[in-house]
């Protein structure tokens, strides 16, 4: 049997260039390789084991050798971490039975090994449309179990970080999973939400939500809105290295998972709803929050966006 650690994965010919690669364009394996310290990643249940979906063939679909998610351990700035990375290009990164079980197993391993020799953090590189429709019951179950496991890991004192910036965003259960993490890092391409734009349009009509209006989609659930309203903790410019540096910076500052934290977050959300609940679009929120030139916020370059001071209460410490 071969050692999974030796499974070489590369879609860029030069691995040393990975940190400068764009997160959005990179495949899951390249994100992992570029995010962690070089050559420290050890995969659990690698593709050579062919632990694949037992359901997709019934639907005449070809599978993926890793069922669309890479899980394992490695080092980040010298510290031991557990990591899971979804492959957004394969079936929209959606959660199926095996896919979900791999993420759940990783989280339970983190919970059970928490302590002196356990991981310093768990990194979830989410890139998902939510539940895989071909195995939806198993996917829904996996997502609820993952949510429970995230809270157990946090309760054991290990921060769980969500990193979102792929093509599929973090939708459906993936949006809920993101919101349950200790810290959330996003780049411009990220969208974090529960019900996807097409689903809203299908159910409520185009006047309720025009899913083909890309600018509207990003104003409502995109990274900039999430960051300005406290739905994300760090907005990065988009290379793998940017995500790496943000993760290293945030791990020591994850809030304790305790009642006071949850109460503070509940209050913040209630205040936010009261303040902005009647807004119809993100620009109205930004105007109400006193940001200058709110209609330009969606269009300016990343550097200019990062220079904006977040509205009061968004830069909280109560997730």
């Amino acid at each position: 049997m071969t050692n999974p650690a030796q499974t070489q994965a590369a879609n860029l010919s030069n691995q040393s260039q990975l940190p400068d690669a764009d997160w959005y364009e990179a495949y899951a394996r390249d994100r992992v390789a570029g995010l962690l310290d070089p050559d420290t990643f050890v995969e659990f249940i690698g593709p050579e084991q062919r632990v694949m979906s037992p359901h997709l063939a019934q639907f005449d679909l070809t599978g993926a050798f890793d069922d669309g998610v890479v899980v394992g351990r490695g080092r980040l700035d010298g510290q031991k971490v557990f990591i899971a990375a979804q492959q957004g290009w394969f079936l929209g990164g959606a959660f199926g039975e095996v896919h979900g079980a791999k993420v759940l197993g990783l989280l339970r391993a983190a919970r059970d090994s928490a302590g002196k020799d356990g991981p310093r953090a768990v990194l979830l590189l989410l890139d998902t449309g939510g539940v895989r429709l071909q195995e939806a019951n198993a996917g829904e179950l996996a997502i609820s179990e993952i949510i429970g496991a995230i809270l157990e890991v946090r309760n054991a004192g290990v921060p769980v970080l969500a990193l979102v910036g792929g093509r599929a965003g973090a939708f459906g259960g993936g949006g809920i999973i993101t919101a349950c993490c200790s810290r959330i890092i996003v780049s411009k391409h990220a969208r974090v939400s529960v019900t996807g734009p097409e689903v809203i349009e299908t159910n409520k009509g185009v006047e309720e939500f025009d899913s083909k209006d890309r600018a509207l989609v990003w104003r409502v659930c995109g990274a900039r809105t999430r960051y300005l309203t406290g739905g994300a903790d760090r907005y990065v410019k988009g290379t793998i290295k940017d995500f790496r540096e943000a993760a290293i910076a945030l791990i020591p500052h994850a809030p304790p998972f305790e009642l006071a934290t949850l109460k503070a977050e509940q209050k913040r959300l209630a205040d936010r709803l009261q303040q902005f609940g009647d807004c119809r679009d993100a620009t109205e929120i930004w105007r109400k929050a006193g940001l200058s030139e709110p209609e330009r916020i969606a269009d300016i370059a990343d550097d200019a966006f990062l220079a904006i001071a977040r509205p009061k209460g968004a830069d909280h410490d109560a997730r």
Binding site: T2, Q6, Q8, A10, L61, A64, F65, F90
Partner: protein
């Protein structure tokens, strides 16, 4: 979906000592290739699972040309295909063989 195997003979053992590698992703117009050093030195094999039926002859031509060009002796390639074009298939096969050249 269609599944089949294409066997070939190689002039020599594939260079390098790496035991396995994976490249690409099963997505629309793309494919993933898992390659493993598990066969005798003069044999090579590609196992194909493709979402698109009816193109077996083209697959066989592309794969036989790859065998001749790369001589990937000892390697088994397993493909999950999402409807990639022949040039993309060649590129991924070459990429995966190249990854195995590492010591």
């Amino acid at each position: 979906m269609e599944q089949f195997q294409v066997r070939g003979a190689a002039k020599e053992r594939a260079r390098g000592s790496r035991l396995e590698a994976i490249t690409g992703v099963n997505a629309s117009g793309n494919l993933e290739v898992l390659v493993e050093r598990v066969l005798p030195d003069r044999e090579c094999l590609v196992e194909v699972a493709t979402a698109v039926t009816g193109f077996r002859e083209i697959w066989e031509a592309v794969i036989q040309e790859f065998f001749e060009r790369s001589s990937p002796g000892g390697l088994r390639f397993s493909i999950n295909d999402g409807g990639a074009r022949p040039d993309t298939v060649t590129l991924r096969l070459m990429q995966s063989a190249r990854l195995m050249e590492a010591e």
